[in-house]
Point group: C2
């Protein structure tokens, strides 16, 4: 019997009507003869509401207690979704992350899945139950609630699909698939029928909101096909899979990421190993560093600039401040008013003109480039946040034709 | 080192301000040198909000999913309370029912505590942590969320206090203690400085909202002293304990219970064992029967009338209907528009005039008595719901003097 894992985000279950719609999608797959495991996020604004409630009693709550609070969100949506399916006459059971067997690291707020004990889920499928699993959460080895951080529910769904050897993992969102740019901003953006793991990875990393890179990395590792599709239209979406035929299209998409901050360490002595020390400290605290730019040494010192996730900016500054003297650097400059705009496409490296065209598009709109980073399949630039929407449009127009 | 268990109901934590107030109470006890375990209910209207959300997707959700949904309520309040204590600089950890070691029966919505594994709580106390435990909930042997039903958080608190050998269990509510009648309705009601377990049991069973009988029964069994007090005034409350000196006061209080329904089985053949059959079936479904009245046989049949908790009325009717033919009875008549009004007092049996005075008080107000039930320390009457407030006042006036 085939097994489908379906993931529904917060907007897909934001109210009773949407929950019933999702129940229809799940039971339709079940009626078609599939086993179904659905992974669900917290309803619409629940997480924001919880964060607001927390800040009323404590401006800086511990991450442990924050995870305890936030994980109640999926518990609410999962039980409501199970109730909606019950009322349609289907056998269903909701499971919390720990009940579904999720053990994670202890890194509260950004935990990593260590292991999924699939016994309970297998038992429920044997009983012909539809299973609703709370996404985004698990327990650590002390038995404490953890959350998986950004994109966590996607990761939960893909992890279950891999652990349970599912035939397909469907990620339902409020867009119809993966587009060449954000269709809400670029009307001429085109839906891709398929995309390779690597391209999707770049797009995800670069701020396309459809799929988080952790889930794509995992799917790639287990060669699991993911379909990204809308929970409202019923149309086929975009299949993410290993692509054998990547040469024909150079650019698969334009993405932007406003959720980053730029940090510069000024006046770092020009001695080997100092940069390593800094980045090693950041990585110990699970702060991922993205674009790195090191200025050419002047008077025996240099500046090191890099980007981090916006939410990690304050933590990163604290960590660097602690060792500023030790490093011998002068000061720290940080700016979270920046955006990263990127183009992604397999086979890009064999088309050297792509970068030039991208820079030209930005130049024509007088958009200043702060940093540049390239890989085999992507080119990213850091620009002023206020320019980011214009930049995406300019680049998309250049490669996909004028949108209006 | 002494250990205090403190329980805070939903109104005590209904918003940020109240949560901070509760954090003050808890940390004051901790600063005085006690270990503190606080048990907390869901915030104010959370439970009602959840029930409303559930009814939008399913008019009759399963009890399993309902428990999954409802138990998110205490998770929210417990983590917020822990955050408030964190912000005051005290070490604290919140624990869900299952994390605190609560194993219960599988009777969803009305589960019984089977066992408390105290390892985790002991470990946290060893670390000098204040512990916040979600009341009202546990897990069954399948690892599924259960809730303890009415008064469940009181029961959680008393159970922890017994299992951890606490020196005192404080139940904080929105009243200042146990009164001779509901002080919101009877201005002259007097606060008792202490009351015996048995009297409290009768008052709790009879509808006084301050303490649930399950928690009092447990406290009595383990000889645990409970203090009922207000989370707002800071005044000493009422101590519930084994009372050595019960003769002096005859009446300790007047209580009413609107949360009941009356069911009559009409035309039951006058054969032995039939009543037993009916009540055995109800008890199998965990439906507690209270006042029972059996009419004298007429034409070889009799009527059996009894009261049940209002929420159980429909279930009880269904169960009886199933065996109506089998029993040979004619019909069922049910009415949930009734109230039980009771007076409680140790040593009442040696003062036979008490019942007469109570009935006289009702007669003077032309309140009709439908059923009467007495025990060594209480007298209850069933009356029309619309008369209940007047009845309490009339009885209280008779025994404690005119209230205005």
């Amino acid at each position: 019997m085939s097994l489908v894992v379906q993931k529904f985000g917060g907007s897909s279950v934001r109210d009773a009507e949407r929950i019933k719609n999702v129940a229809e999608i799940i039971t339709a797959a079940y009626k078609d003869g599939s086993n179904v495991i659905a992974v669900v996020s917290a309803q619409g604004d629940t997480t924001d509401d919880f964060i607001a409630k927390a800040s009323e009693v404590n401006p800086k709550p511990s991450k442990r207690e924050m995870d305890m609070l936030l994980s109640a969100g999926e518990q609410i949506s999962a039980s409501l979704l199970a109730m909606a399916i019950e009322s349609m006459g289907f056998p269903v059971v909701s499971l919390l992350g720990w009940q579904a067997g999720f053990t994670t690291s202890s890194n509260y707020g950004d935990a990593r899945i260590k292991k999924i004990d699939t016994d309970r889920m297998k038992k429920e499928l044997d009983k012909k139950n539809i299973i609703i699993v709370t996404g985004f959460q698990g327990v650590n080895r002390y038995g404490d609630m953890t959350t998986l951080g950004r994109g966590g529910s996607d990761t939960s769904a893909v992890a279950i699909a891999c652990a349970m050897h599912a035939d397909l993992c469907q990620i339902f969102t409020d867009v119809e698939g993966v587009f060449t740019a954000d269709p809400r901003k670029i009307p001429k953006a085109q839906k891709l029928s398929s995309i390779s793991y690597d391209e999707m990875l770049e797009l995800a990393t670069l701020g396309a909101q459809v799929l988080h890179n952790r889930s794509v990395e995992m799917a790639k590792k287990y060669n699991l096909e993911i379909e990204v599709l809308s929970s409202l239209t019923g149309e086929r979406g975009t299949i993410v899979k290993e692509d054998k035929n990547v040469e024909q299209m150079i650019i698969s998409g334009v993405a932007k990421d406003d959720n980053i901050a730029r940090i510069s360490i000024v006046g770092v002595p020009d001695k080997p190993g100092l940069a390593f020390k800094i980045f090693s400290k950041l990585s110990q605290k699970s702060i991922n560093v993205d674009i790195i730019l090191q200025s050419i040494g002047r008077n025996g010192t240099k500046d090191i600039t890099f980007t981090v996730e916006k939410a990690k900016m304050d933590d990163a500054i604290l960590i660097i401040e602690e060792s500023l003297e030790n490093i011998g650097a002068t000061s720290i400059v940080a700016d979270d008013n920046v955006s990263k705009v990127s183009i992604v496409g397999a086979g890009m490296e064999s088309h050297p003109g792509v970068a030039a065209e991208m820079f030209e598009a930005l130049f024509e709109k007088s958009i200043n480039i702060q940093m540049i980073s390239t890989s085999e399949i992507k080119i990213s630039v850091l620009i002023d946040k206020q320019d980011s929407d214009r930049a995406v449009k300019a680049i998309h127009d250049k490669f996909f034709g004028e949108s209006d």
